[in-house]
């Protein structure tokens, strides 16, 4: 496939994933904000959101204290924020438009009709049906688009889509861990029913892994098990490690891995996540975030830039 079109596919996939991740993150925080304790500490549920999905300094100076309203305004409908849901869906659509001749009709129609609705996004629309409605709508639409995209040829285009998705997910989950873990780990054994306990649940919910936790552990929520699942759960499609591994396999489908520095960096990261001790997991997550960033930059530089040869 043309290198230029690969760039569009790569970003289509990343923005699609980002829109969905943002919606999950917001929904989890919004649920937390409704907890009784939140009335005395209303900033707390939004702390991770601000750290993960915004530029905290810019957010503070432009929007003031984080509230459901200010966060929604910035992350859902703000067209000046390139990572807001509306901007992401627009980017998905614009990228898809450039490669529409390579997409199946259903994918293009899903992307296009989603954008046609999303462009009506504004404060008023938000108030009318409520934040939860639009977060649910966003997740549903992203899932619809992904379902349609999955019904594609298993060719280079698909590999690029998977690569973008894996990179975005790996980035998101490590970003979230780095933002949330310090506070979470300051309370080593949170009791069920406490705010701290629900913070863990919110983290799993934002990662889309609540059910995955209970099904894989059959245990009440334990920080060490939750962390292990988030970072290296092997059966989850959302854990950090599974996405790093998907990065490796998608890249291998596109270019020869032997002698490829990016492929080596990905393999090294996977190896570290697999072998590190449980007590070392929090710092491994921190290192992973830096490395994923570097891998993303290298992928763009080496494989998604047009060149002469």
């Amino acid at each position: 496939m043309l290198s230029r079109l690969a760039v569009h596919c790569f970003w289509l996939s990343r923005y699609l994933e980002r829109a969905e991740n943002t919606a999950r993150l917001l929904a989890a925080a919004n649920a937390q904000a409704l907890a009784p304790e939140a009335s005395s500490n209303s900033q707390r549920p939004w702390r991770v959101v601000v750290a993960v999905a915004t530029d905290p300094h810019r957010f503070g100076s432009e929007f003031g204290p984080a509230t459901a309203e200010s966060i929604a305004a910035h992350l859902l409908v703000d067209r000046d924020n390139p990572s807001s849901v509306v901007s992401c869906l627009r980017a998905v659509r614009e990228n898809a438009r450039s490669v529409r001749h390579l997409l199946n009709v259903e994918s293009w129609e899903a992307v296009n009709s989603t954008w046609l609705e999303a462009r009506e996004f504004a404060g008023a629309v938000l108030e009318q049906r409520g934040l939860d409605h639009w977060l649910g709508w966003t997740r549903q639409r992203c899932q619809w688009i992904k379902g349609a995209l999955d019904d594609q040829l298993r060719d280079e285009l698909y590999a690029v889509l998977m690569l973008g998705q894996a990179l975005e997910r790996a980035d998101f989950i490590s970003r979230m861990l780095v933002a949330a873990l310090p506070a979470l780990l300051s309370e080593p054994n949170p009791e069920p029913g406490t705010f701290a306990h629900r913070d863990w649940e919110a983290l799993l919910a934002a990662a889309g892994m609540v059910d995955a936790y209970y099904r894989t552990t059959s245990q009440p929520l334990r920080p060490d098990l939750a962390m292990d699942l988030l970072i290296r759960g092997t059966t989850s499609t959302r854990s950090l490690l599974s996405n790093v591994e998907r990065l490796a396999s998608s890249l291998a489908a596109l270019v020869a891995s032997v002698g490829n520095d990016t492929a080596s960096a990905i393999a090294a990261l996977a190896e570290e996540l697999k072998t590190c001790t449980t007590s070392d997991l929090p710092s491994a997550a921190g290192r992973a975030l830096t490395r994923i960033n570097a891998i993303g930059a290298a992928l763009q530089r080496e494989h998604f830039m047009p060149s002469d040869r």
Binding site: M1, L2, L5, H101, E109
Partner: protein, 492 residues
Amino acid sequence: MNTDLQQQPVAAEPPTSSRPAKRSRAYNEMRGPTGVSPAYRPLAEFLRSADASSLEHKRTEADALFRRRGITFNVYGDESGEERLIPFDVIPRILTAQEWSVVSAGCCQRVRALNRFLDDIYHDQEILKAGVIPRDEIVNNVLFRKEMVGLDLPNKVHAHIAGIDVVRVSGDQWYVLEDNLRTPSGVSYMIENRVAMRRLFPDFFRRQRVATIDHYPEILLSNLRACAPAGIEYPTVVVLTPGPANSAFFEHAFLAQRMGVSLVEGQDLFVDDGHVWMRDLRGRRQVDVIYRRVDDEFLDPTVFRPDSLLGVAGLMEVYRAGKVNLANAVGNGVADDKATYLYVPQMIEFYLGEKPILSNVPTWRLGRPDELAYVLEHLADLVVKEVHGSGGYGMLVGPASTLAEREAYRERILSDPSDFIAQPTLALSTCPTFSAQDIAPRHVDLRPYVLTGPACTLVPGALTRVALKEGSLVVNSSQGGGTKDTWVLDDQ
């Protein structure tokens, strides 16, 4: 007086005032002089029982469908909200197999002659030597590309894709208004209009056998493959687009998708080692045939406009060496120019030894004193155009003009008469059209697409453009025109 002028077949009574020609004179394709034509009977029956709200509903449905499928054209200064729909009329236009056979044979004949003409003028120029066309008019035409001289193209095809604009003025009289041999567009609307009609009115298609047109991209693909440079068994074909900001981008993407070929921009291609290559994720890949939707002047900055970012530096050299083929060929403008248009009937006789099936619109050349005098006397009845103009600009529509406009135009003509041609104001045929609140006749034209490969082919269908405003003769989408699905009945 020139002989071909005396054949003027339009019985155009000169209008007495400067108001639009009377509608009643136009040929109504559904309701002929002897009542509703048989081809239209099922439709007429449906229209009698349909109320405005159900048609309005269908129209809304069609708009939503086009919008969802992204069948839009861009308005320049692209903010994605600015993509527009071309108005689609839900009432189809119907042609019988017999009517179609005349139009299609006529268009095919024209394109065969035009291809022969292009190959001739860039080689031995027999038609100029024979004095059929004055040499000056061709070799001094700005659209004559010296880069094409002596270039042997595969199968000698220059116009692989041609859009012939025809209009109808009576039951059996069609005129060719214009030949488009450069980068004619609109074929995607022809195909998508049919898709929409099948969804909106499935019953129609059960009642009448409508010939299918969906295989157009298939024929195009096999023609493009067949015109690859010699010796290439599995040619790589691409569609070259100016990019997503181009008004016809949807069509470029549509055709690339249907043919399963890469949709490339100039920046995706480069020349090296005597070949054209595309920048592929896995490395470079040789390109053999380029269906280009980029105009001549932008194709190669080293030969044509140096500021072009849409083309490929060095492309012409590879083309001239026969290592890549372009569809359409470079330099076709000289054949579809208004000045050359006048000679197409003679070309048909010269190259094919046949009588033209479709007529040209009778045309006066204002460079000839006697014709100039006639035209100046009859300005109020005629349409006057610039020889090298296009898109309806700089034109005088006599019957719709004021005295002051005619006087101003007269001055323009007199400053350089040879820059102008004049034609009678044709009463374009009408078809029933759903306008605003009711069904009314509106003027239409027809653009069939002629594909030339090893053979000359038309799918049985065409793009019908309709002037949605009452009385308007302008079918152009930028000036209130829309499109209709065009059915050719299959009488097998």
